[in-house]
């Protein structure tokens, strides 16, 4: 089963990051490196990406069939997706175990979403 692990950031989490010492930051980054290494070794990693700042985002819409873009998400959005993992593992329990190793889980900013698949019972 595939699971999407979403990592959010909000003003509070960004302020916490800003206050961290160099050592503490290095600790956070090495926690990520260790997690990535373990997921690759276990054959559970599908993809993991950190996302650029929301100010770099483009909102896309079609006008008369032509794509139009506007900058950024809406200003009032405080909690933003900062990165994600897609893992392929045995169960949601295992996905939660993986998600708990993301440093942002300390701040309650990590979410596990099951991906839909093509399985289906004969009804």
């Amino acid at each position: 089963m595939k699971y999407l692990i979403l990592i959010y950031s909000n003003p509070e989490s960004r302020a916490i990051w800003d206050r961290l010492s160099a050592d503490q930051r290095a600790g956070g980054l090495s926690a990520y490196a260790a997690l990535n290494e373990d997921l690759t070794a276990s054959g559970e990693m599908v993809v993991a990406e950190a996302l650029a700042d929301p100010s770099m985002a483009k909102r896309v819409s079609l006008h008369d069939g032509q794509p139009m873009t506007t900058d950024g998400p809406f200003a009032e959005v405080k909690e933003l997706v900062a990165g994600f993992y897609v893992v392929d593992c045995e169960s949601i329990e295992r996905a939660v175990e993986i998600a708990a190793r993301v440093p942002e889980a300390d701040l309650g900013l990590v979410e596990v979403r099951p991906c839909m698949d093509l399985s289906g019972f004969e009804m």
Binding site: V46, S119, F121, M123
Partner: protein, 411 residues
């Protein structure tokens, strides 16, 4: 020139035999498996253009042995005695022990130290002869992920101290059960994929049937192996009718039965009939028998639900489980009416394995629909649709919800 399919079929047939020959000769399942995979890849390229050699198996064994030697030589940390052990003549191509090898390999790939996902990947490569890239495409994950799963699985097997021979008698039936589970997982993965967008996906269903056939030929006296093969044949026979061309699931009762595969049904029915008469009963046999009753009904309304219910009663007694409970309840309502089914469903819902399960809602919705309570049916279809993790099921359940709503607003 040989066609791609011919070469692929031959390679898949030979893969476990070549691997068996190498492992018996050199030990080192892990390195041998890599070497065989390389030989298969080389053969796939060369045989397609240059034709199949006179002794394909001998060719593969020679090339794989050479790869193995190169691999061991390049590893400078190896001790010399390993090198000398390998530089001897390649193993003989005597075909006699190969069928034993396939069984031994299957049991090794389904070693209990591995997760089901790893068992599946390793079985498909080592026994099925699929490439890492094909397995990755079939399961929609990156090739590196599959490669890593396989290499880790082999490490775990090596670390467990398992050897290349059949497990001791006392462990054999348990291991056989794991093998059957893996084959059924492979089958189901392919079967469900065929209902959706399945472009570029290896035919996992046929692969599972091929492996089950191979296994059945090796242990014809094992009733559960025969039962699983029959179950696969009888289920796969309905594949042409189980989804619309755009991937919408068609329930059994509404399938166009003329498009079912009658050869597969005849084979499956004959196999399960003979097996039930001779072998010790088991859950795959019962599931196959149920599939046979469905497949033998010319129209949905001709289905012998009484017999299906009897079979589910048996299944529930020898191999109980939440899905057996639910399917049995469907049979109960077909025999004794939807109200009887709904009563049993109420009781079943107390089982922690079923409480809150979307399938309970799906069955409940279906029974309420049958009982004429379309309004309640709609809300249960909707609840089930929100909670399923399957796209085709979600579409199906949502369309049922809409249909129930129409029936209810225009009685």
């Amino acid at each position: 020139m040989s066609t791609t399919t011919e070469v692929e079929n031959l390679l898949r047939e030979l893969a476990p035999q070549v691997l068996g020959a190498l492992v018996r000769r050199y030990g080192k399942f892990d390195s041998c498996e890599d070497a065989v995979q390389e030989a298969l890849l080389a053969a796939a390229v060369q045989w397609r253009s240059g034709g199949v050699p006179a002794s394909p198996k001998g060719w593969l064994i020679t090339v794989a042995s050479r790869r193995l030697i190169e691999q061991l030589r390049s590893d400078s940390a190896r001790v010399r005695r390993e090198e000398t052990a390998v530089v001897q003549a390649p193993p003989s191509t005597d075909p006699s022990p190969s069928e034993d090898d396939s069984l031994t390999l299957l049991m090794l790939c389904c070693h209990p130290s591995l997760t089901p996902t790893s068992q599946v990947a390793l079985t498909l490569r080592a026994v099925g002869g699929l490439t890492t890239a094909e397995i990755a495409r079939a399961f929609l994950v990156p090739e590196t992920t599959v490669a890593q799963r396989i290499s880790r699985a082999k490490q775990l097997i090596t670390a467990s101290g398992a050897e290349f021979r059949l497990p001791p008698q006392g462990e054999r039936s348990e291991r056989m059960a794991a093998v059957l589970e893996v084959l059924y997982l492979i089958f189901n993965e392919g079967y469900t994929a065929s209902a959706g967008v399945a472009l570029n996906r290896v035919e996992l269903t046929s692969e599972a049937i091929r492996l089950a056939r191979q296994l059945h030929a090796r242990v014809p006296e094992d009733g559960e192996v025969a039962g699983l093969l029959a179950l696969m044949l009888l289920t796969d026979a309905r594949r042409p009718a189980r989804a619309t061309p755009d991937g919408e699931l068609v329930p059994l009762a509404e399938q166009e039965r003329r498009s079912w595969d009658s050869d597969a049904i005849a084979e499956g029915v004959a196999l399960i009939t003979e097996t039930l008469a001779t072998a010790r009963i088991g859950s795959y046999q019962l599931q196959a028998a149920i599939a046979a009753v469905h497949d033998e009904a010319p129209r949905a309304e001709d289905t012998d639900w009484q017999q299906i219910l009897t079979l589910y009663d048996l299944l529930a007694s020898i191999s109980p489980g939440p899905m057996v409970t639910l399917n049995r309840i469907v049979a109960v309502s077909m025999v004794h009416g939807a109200v009887a089914g709904l009563e049993e469903l109420e009781a079943a819902n107390a089982d922690p394995a079923l409480t809150g399960h979307y399938r309970v809602d799906a069955v409940k919705a279906h029974l309420l629909d049958l009982a004429g309570d379309h309004e309640a049916a709609r809300s249960h279809y909707e609840r089930a649709a929100t909670r399923t993790l399957s796209l085709p099921e979600r579409r199906y359940l949502n369309s049922r919800a809409t249909r129930a709503a129409h029936t209810w607003s225009r009685p």
